[in-house]
């Protein structure tokens, strides 16, 4: 039996009203114009059946290429803007990439590919669009802290499982602070395309305040970002330019202060925080304005999503789960019971569950990840340091900051010596680590707890 595949993404724009647009700072593309026009010049056909890397600098051209190539390309790998270019050869090999879409200068990494195609927001009439032949494989990259990012394989059907359609009485204008080339941002591109909405994207290097002003000018109604993005927006005078009716948070823990601050800033908006990960897909959305999620979510199956907590870590089984990692570097993505371990640690308090951090203690500083061990290794290089423990401290501005507890080999006799050693340690850290990893405060402590495993006790 042949399984019916959902139509390609482009199918959703066939009936787009004439007043729906994709915007960035420099350009505006009519969604309906993409039915008869192409952003890929006369070279669209060359990409048919290929494994295509989308490596444009702008989000707008990435969005256009994604829209035109789903169903046409065999595989689409979406390159986020902040990936180290040094990883490209490994990514190209692992995803068997043989073509690339760019919007700037041709670069040497792509010299051996069969096709290098330019994408532009200046559409030209398409001579003949290649027929849809494939349920295209979508590959998204994880935001790892070190090493080559993992390549996570999805399908359009899986990526869109959490997208439900509500009848909207007024036109919807989506905006996202979150880059559409990451899982959380891609959800917004798909919502806009499938819901027949306009979409306002930021341009590379555009100041956040300018983006807010443009969101206001285009009358954004639905706006999404991480708690860090929102904290930053709330500190901008330009926040008064927008009045969305739906405010969405995802990608980081949404704590009560940020939810309350958004409620105060947008009293009439519906405010929701969603849980999703690149590997597990969308888990759930919470719309009651409270941090955490109802513990009852762990009991049943909702929208095909089943969740459980194993050793404190949230596991999700869902049609939105990625299927596997591409290439050979990835570990097993789905466990024997069909669940994806998210690595996000959950604690139950009464009838509510709260996210308390990452497995392995990874600290998230405004979207940048820190392994405590790498900071401890630097601190421990100081000749007077016996051992150290790096941990997060809550910050309303970045979610968390890094602080360190340090045990010295012998205690300092005078307060001046103590502050001298602190300065020395900080100097060492500043010389060896990017600034978000440098501890903001160092406390000298007599002893650090060691767990039965012989490892530093990191939590509790």
């Amino acid at each position: 039996m042949v399984r019916a595949e959902p139509p390609s993404l482009r199918h959703h724009i066939n009936n787009a009203p004439a007043d729906r647009f994709f915007f960035d700072r420099a350009a505006r593309v009519g969604v309906a114009a993409l039915v008869a026009g192409t952003s890929l010049g006369d070279r669209l056909a060359e990409l048919s059946g290929r494994s295509v890397l989308i490596a444009t600098t702008s989000q707008l051209t990435s969005a256009l290429a994604i829209l035109e190539l789903d169903g046409v390309a065999r595989r689409l790998t979406i390159l986020p803007p902040d990936v180290d270019r040094g990883h490209l050869p490994a990514l190209i090999a692992d995803a068997e990439i043989d073509a690339v879409v760019i919007d700037g200068e041709q670069s040497a990494e792509f010299a051996n590919l069969a096709a290098v195609v330019a994408c532009t927001p200046n559409l030209v009439p398409v001579a003949q669009r290649p027929p849809d032949r494939f349920p295209t494989e979508w590959i998204l990259l994880t935001s790892g802290t070190t090493g080559v990012p993992k390549m996570v394989v999805h399908s359009l059907a899986g990526l869109s499982t959490a997208i439900a359609f509500q009848a909207e009485t007024e036109p919807v204008v989506w905006g996202t602070f979150y880059d559409i080339r990451r899982y959380g941002g891609l959800q917004i591109l798909l919502r806009a395309v499938m819901g027949g909405a306009s979409l306002v994207l930021s341009s590379a290097g555009e100041p956040a305040a300018d983006h807010l002003v443009r969101l206001g000018r285009h009358g954004v109604t639905h706006l999404s970002g991480t708690p860090s993005h929102w904290r930053r927006a709330l500190m901008s005078p330009s926040i008064s330019q927008i009045s969305p009716r739906y405010v969405r948070l995802s990608g980081e823990i949404a704590d009560q202060p940020i939810l309350d601050a958004l409620r105060a800033a947008f009293p009439r908006a519906s405010i929701g925080h969603a849980y999703a990960s690149t590997e597990a897909g969308v888990g759930f959305a919470v719309n009651d304005g409270l941090a955490g999620f109802p513990a009852a979510y762990l009991d049943g199956v909702s929208n095909g999503v089943q969740m459980k907590v194993v050793n404190g870590s949230l596991r999700i089984r869902s049609p939105g789960n990625a299927s596997r990692y591409a290439g050979s570097r990835g570990a097993t993505l789905i466990d024997g019971d069909g669940f994806v371990d998210t690595g996000d640690m959950v604690e139950r308090r009464g009838d509510r569950c709260f996210f308390v951090g990452r497995k392995g203690g990874i600290i998230n500083i405004g979207g940048l990840k820190v392994h405590p061990e790498e900071v401890e290794a630097v601190i421990n290089r100081h000749p007077q340091v016996h051992m150290s423990l790096v941990r997060p401290k809550r910050s309303p501005f970045t979610g968390a900051i890094v602080i360190a507890d340090v045990v010295l080999k012998s205690p300092c006799k005078r307060a001046e010596d103590e502050s001298g050693v602190k300065d020395d340690i900080l100097k060492l850290c500043r010389g060896a680590l990017p600034r978000h990893k440098v501890p903001v405060a160092i406390s000298f402590v007599p002893v650090l707890a060691v767990a039965a495993t012989g490892k530093l006790a990191r939590r509790g």
């Binding site: 956040a208 305040a209 860090s228 904290r231 930053r232 709330l234 500190m235 901008s236 005078p237 926040i239 009560q256 202060p257 940020i258 309350d260 601050a261 500083i365 405004g366 401290k393 809550r394 910050s395 309303p396 501005f397 970045t398 900051i401 602080i403 500043r430 600034r435 978000h436 903001v440 405060a441």
Partner: protein, 81 residues
């Protein structure tokens, strides 16, 4: 040193450590236009907790996100009362 001077002093210090140039400060300047980014402000708040013994932004559950330099200073002046 007054609360305001302590804050200005620490702003300059954090800007130096982060390799940022501090703009000429006045009460109406947007905090994020001061030269410090979100991380810089998070670090500044932690330093000020050390110096002033108070963190007005995590002390209560109700966070007012400061928009201007004046808002920021006022949060400490109110917190110290």
């Amino acid at each position: 040193m007054s609360i305001k001077l302590t804050i200005m002093d620490q702003m300059a210090q954090v800007a130096r450590e982060h390799g940022k140039t501090l703009a000429p400060l006045n009460d109406d300047l947007a905090l994020l236009d001061s030269g410090l980014d979100s991380l810089g402000i998070a670090v500044l708040v932690a330093r000020l907790e050390d110096r002033l013994g108070v963190d007005p932004f995590t002390a209560s559950e109700e966070v007012q996100f400061p928009v201007t330099v004046g808002d920021f200073v006022k949060a400490y002046e109110n917190g110290a009362r």
